[in-house]
């Protein structure tokens, strides 16, 4: 499998996701919506697997490869939220978000060679990045909830909306913690330092603390939904800086081993 076939797999997945999303909007057809949407996820995952096999390494090294996982996990996170909390809009939004990253990959395909430098040849590599991408996907869904509450609900949000958001953050935060600590354990095995304040690590800590702030703010001021949602948006910006924005930060370019 090569990157050239991506457009076909992506097209089929996006069409299936779109059909699933439309069925979700019309209501009453939850099983059909979920089956078709799930099929789209399976097609997308088939491409990831095929890339994995043909590259002879997990496709996790380049930015383009991480975007592949991000689109995948966004769709997965959307489906989990839909199956548990039945928001009819969530599938459409996660499809649109996944589509954005698919388009970025089509417009800006990056080198996807087989080469993997020695530092990345570790059993920690795949879990570290996959766990992070899943967390980013779930927290992307939490961001959609925040926008939905801030823009459309305007103070009319139900306690269910808040519980959904809190649970998405709790799940995302758990995986963020796994990702960060797997990274620390890996760094200890590779370099003898579990934490070195490399700019990527610093921004990982910032992102982690921003979501920590949300969780504790929800406990300290449970009724102030507005501020909580703004914290969530701030946290998502930190997450984006940590993931790719860091490549454009002059402060990071000077010193980071994580710029790629």
């Amino acid at each position: 499998m090569s990157w050239d076939s991506f457009i076909w797999f992506a097209a089929v997945s996006v069409i299936l996701w779109a059909v699933g999303s439309i069925l979700a909007w019309t209501g009453n057809k939850r099983t059909a919506a979920m089956s078709i949407y799930g099929l789209g996820i399976a097609v997308f995952f088939a491409f990831i697997l095929a890339m994995w096999i043909s590259l002879e390494r997990p496709p996790l090294r380049t930015m383009g490869e991480t975007r592949l996982w991000y689109s995948f996990f966004l769709a997965v996170a959307g489906m989990i939220v839909y199956s548990r909390w039945k928001y009819k809009w969530i599938l459409s939004f996660s499809t649109i978000m996944a589509l954005v990253f698919i388009i970025v990959n089509l417009m800006k395909p990056e080198i996807h060679s087989k080469a993997l430098m020695p530092a990345l040849q570790s059993p920690w590599f795949a879990p570290h990045v996959i766990v992070y991408m899943f967390s980013y996907g779930v927290l992307g869904a939490a961001t959609l909830m925040a926008l939905y509450i801030l823009i459309f609900k305007k103070g009319q949000e139900t306690s269910d909306d808040m519980v959904t958001t809190d649970n998405l953050v709790a799940t995302g935060m758990a995986f963020l913690t796994f990702g960060m600590l797997f990274g620390a354990l890996w760094a200890q095995e590779a370099w003898g330092t579990y934490w070195g304040w490399d700019p990527k690590e610093t921004w990982a800590a910032i992102t982690w603390m921003a979501y920590l702030l949300y969780i504790h703010f929800r406990i300290a001021r449970p009724k102030d939904h507005q501020t909580a949602m703004w914290i969530l948006l701030l946290a998502f910006i930190c997450l984006q800086i940590c993931w790719w924005g860091i490549n454009y930060l002059p402060s990071a370019h000077a010193t980071s081993v994580h710029v790629y």
Partner: protein
């Protein structure tokens, strides 16, 4: 906002944080940057005892002193996380190059350090709160693991940093080496004797490095000879020294007959690991339980 009586709230927390940051600035001006090297054992052990004693006293007196009751509450957690977050953001936005002054060396910047100390004190006190509630409810377990794990990790990583030895040892094929050098160039007898049989470097067709490996025989203090291969991501451990593949003669490239190993001894590492594993277990439980709570309107 009296220390003893009036209840401390979120807003007073932010004022407290502001005062802390100003105090940090004054300390920075008066005493210069934080000198982490001074923490070397036994200073770190004494500080650990003082810090834990403070947390226990604060817990015991929280009924009498409003400030201590606040310090272990979410109303203190929020401002302490926010201030620490802000300090870390400054670090993330400024290039960390010590020659560039205070902001170029945030880990020795007092306001940064004090915010972390404050957050650590809060997380420690909250951990004690949850531990003491354990007997009443098993639902406290995820919170105990999350808070205690973070507390142990932060405290041991920080206090232990001065006891960590991080050395470089240069080896030549066929030669034996016993000394290693610190970052400042001074040398140390490691107690080990390392013989390099062979250094191998493989590259991809593009010229990008694929694998470095040092085939060594290490003689331990007790005279035991241990053969092994050290590769990137595959360190070797002898007498408490972790030995990592670190570098080679870059000019010679694949023909290099020189290998540089990194030797690390970190006596606090097992405790940091204990903290990390507690946090991993806590995160796993949090994922299952969530943090949903009833909303009171």
């Amino acid at each position: 906002m009296s220390l003893f009586s009036k209840p401390w709230k979120l807003t007073s927390g932010f004022i407290f944080g502001g005062v802390f940051v100003v105090a940090g600035f004054l300390l920075q001006i008066l005493s210069g940057p934080v000198r982490w090297g001074l923490l070397a054992s036994p200073v770190n052990l004494i500080l650990l005892a003082v810090f834990i004693a403070f947390i226990i006293i604060a817990y015991a007196m929280k009924g009498k002193v409003a400030f201590f009751a606040w310090l272990g509450s979410s109303a203190a957690a929020v401002p302490s996380i926010a201030c620490t977050l802000l300090m870390t953001m400054i670090m993330g936005l400024t290039a960390q190059i010590p020659e560039r002054g205070w902001l170029g060396n945030m880990i020795t910047f007092w306001p940064f350090v004090l915010c972390y100390v404050w957050m650590t004190a809060v997380v420690g006190l909250v951990a004690v709160n949850h531990i003491c509630r354990l007997s009443r409810s098993w639902k406290e377990i995820p919170a105990v693991l999350n808070h205690l794990g973070l507390f142990v990790t932060l405290v041991c990583a920080t206090l232990g940093s001065a006891d960590k030895q991080d050395l470089e040892m240069m080896l030549r094929e066929g030669g034996t080496q016993t000394v290693a050098s610190r970052e400042d160039g001074t040398t140390v007898q490691t107690g080990l004797s390392v013989r390099l049989n062979d250094f191998t470097m493989e590259t991809y067709p593009s010229g990008m490095p694929k694998r470095f490996a040092s085939d060594v025989v290490v003689t331990s203090k007790s005279g035991k000879e241990i053969p092994g291969v050290i590769e990137v991501n595959k360190p070797m451990e002898v007498d408490g020294w972790k030995m990592y593949q670190y570098g080679y003669d870059e000019e010679a490239g694949t023909e290099s007959t020189v290998s540089i190993l990194q030797l690390v001894k970190d006596p606090w590492l097992p405790f940091v690991y204990a903290g990390i594993f507690m946090m991993l277990a806590g995160a796993f439980l949090m994922m299952i339980v969530g943090f949903k709570r009833e909303e009171t309107k």
